[in-house]
Amino acid sequence: MNFRYPTLVLSILTIFLCMCLVSHAEENDLKFKLKPGANGKLCLGCHTAFKEKLTKPAIHTPLKKGQCTGCHNPHSASHGKLLVADAGNICSTCHKSVVPANAQSVHKVVAEGSCTKCHDPHSANSKFNLLKGGNDLCFGCHKEMGESVAKVKFKHSPLVKGCLTCHDPHASNKAAFLLKSDVPALCIGCHKTDRPNFIKSHMNYPVAASRCTSCHDPHGSDRAGILYNNVHKPVVSRMCNQCHEEATSATPLKTKKSGYELCRGCHSTQVNSMFAKNMVHWPILSKEGCLSCHNPHASKHNGLMKGDLITTCGRCHHDTIRRQEKSQTKHEPIKDGKCVVCHDPHASDNPYMFKKATIIDQCATCHDWQKHSTHPLGEKVRDPRNKNVSVQCLSCHRSHGTEYKHFIPFPSTSELCVQCHEQFKR
């Protein structure tokens, strides 16, 4: 009985689907006044290559049924390839439920309507009309991930099985990054947190509700336990209680001190040298303290940074990063995400948290300006626009770029020069 009931439901659904397709076919026959029996055969008369496509194991249902008119208009269309709708929208006319209404994350290609980046709209050798099978398809775009996963010493077995073990290829209504569930629920599905091994490896700390990916790289790493490649020393030496209260305490995950005061316990030289400067980067003094930019346990990035510097610095300095993105000329250190080439991210006595005392000295660490520029610069050269400022590199350039070339704040060089050299203004 238990077996029969689902079979019955499945049969009803199949019949219903066939009825829909037949009715759709009839509709097309009427719409285009096709000759009896012409539906599906007529197109193949000219498009002979499709005969081969029809031999592939996965064929798009309309094509299988000979309904080319499901997607194409045989006479004329406003869209390329005689499609009846825009290529970016046509799939969603049938596949409406691909993106749930309350999606928390949507695959970029899906949002763009670029379904054909993954699927062949006619037929393919892989199921779901996928252009490639398994992870190869994903790694076609996510190349860096593919290369890193291939190289890592310790692989995460679900990833070996396939990206789709954890990710939904289209959209997720449960989590970011197309995850089928949010972390840690997704991880706990496989890793039972009450097992002695799990408890022991986490030093008896109750981490079941913690975010696993703050320490572990779900895509594999070169460290045992797939910890991120850069691990904070106390974590390596399993000295959780160096920062956290004892595992047996009532609040085991609570840190012993707040903000930068916790880090100062070990990094006292660094913190003391910061506080000796005139200006400390404000986020260090906030509740998050050093964790505004650093991960306390492990990170993919050097210096336990939360992300690359463009991302980390850009969390607050979004306007500066945006200016660089829009800039016609790119300033290399910024383009390469090396904000710390010029700025001290912790503290400084200098303007803009520069590493050097003056703007000219700062720029001169890369630009040997005296050799290529004859424009007078320096403390003794006053800016005609404002005699309280001297002429220096930023008198003409904005180091993070402008919408114009060479980081200048005016559309043309002549417009820039006549700001001071007014006698040449036309």
Binding site: S258, G259, E261, K277, N278, M279, V280, W282, P283, L285, S286, K287, R315, C316, H317, H318, D319, T320, P351, D383, R385, N386, K387, N388, V389, S395, P409, Q419
Partner: protein, 300 residues
Amino acid sequence: MILRATRFLTMSLLLLPAASFGAETMTLKLVQPVLVDAKEGMMKSPQGVACTSDGAFFVADTGNGRLLTYTFKDDAVKGGGEIKVPQMTSPLRLQLNSKGEIYVLDGKSRRILRLSPQGSFLGYLDIQGLPAGAAPVPNSFKIDAKDNIYVLDIFSSRVLLLDPSGNFQKEIPFPPQHGFFTDLAVHTDGSIYLIDSTNSMVFAAAKNAAAFTPLSKSLKADMDFPGYITTDRGGSLYVVDQNGGGIIVLGADGAVRTRMLSMGWKPGLLYYPGQICLNDKGFLFVADRDNNRVQIFEIK
């Protein structure tokens, strides 16, 4: 009597649009830039400015580690005397209380100094009666007309309300979702405003409210990096766009009314401005940090 009432009503109706649209039509006319001290010494990266109704104004000449005192009367600036105390290395922001005492946030010690009107060091703001917890780290503060002090404590993510003697009155925690707060403003009606620089948002707490709620949506399209906020008597909010070189006026509802000034070096333009001060004579003082000057504008 009826005639008076009618006149009053007519006048009120006529003035209503002017009050509502005042901000949209508001412009700033440069009165003059202030460049030097009494000895013709140049300012260096001034980040703070405070002003009084009788025309006095004080400048935090941050790069020179000193304050400068001026008077501004009949469109003329006089003075430029220096205040220097060893406890003050990097003055960032200034406030004055009703007695004329100068409160200074020092960037290096991250403490608030109290100076006499003449500039002698009276002591640090000594906060008494704080609930147990970490010592505050102020990155800004304000003083209201009754000399109550409001401290933006970023270390403990809260605003501290203190009486004029520095006694703890209450605290309001930062809202749960926020970026980085760089300043707060206090209106005469007791409302407190926070400016979230990284999200370009304003949060507000009405008098006696226990929490901050968003007042504006993200204003990233209207400003680059807001660094300072203050209010006028009418309830308009003035936000300094530090990285964009401008001043944005918001209505009491958080909506953008107008943007004033732009980036540059010439008189009347701003380059990474810091603190601003509005006095009740309709003048606006701007610490024009990277132009090494303070500029005085008339609000029209």
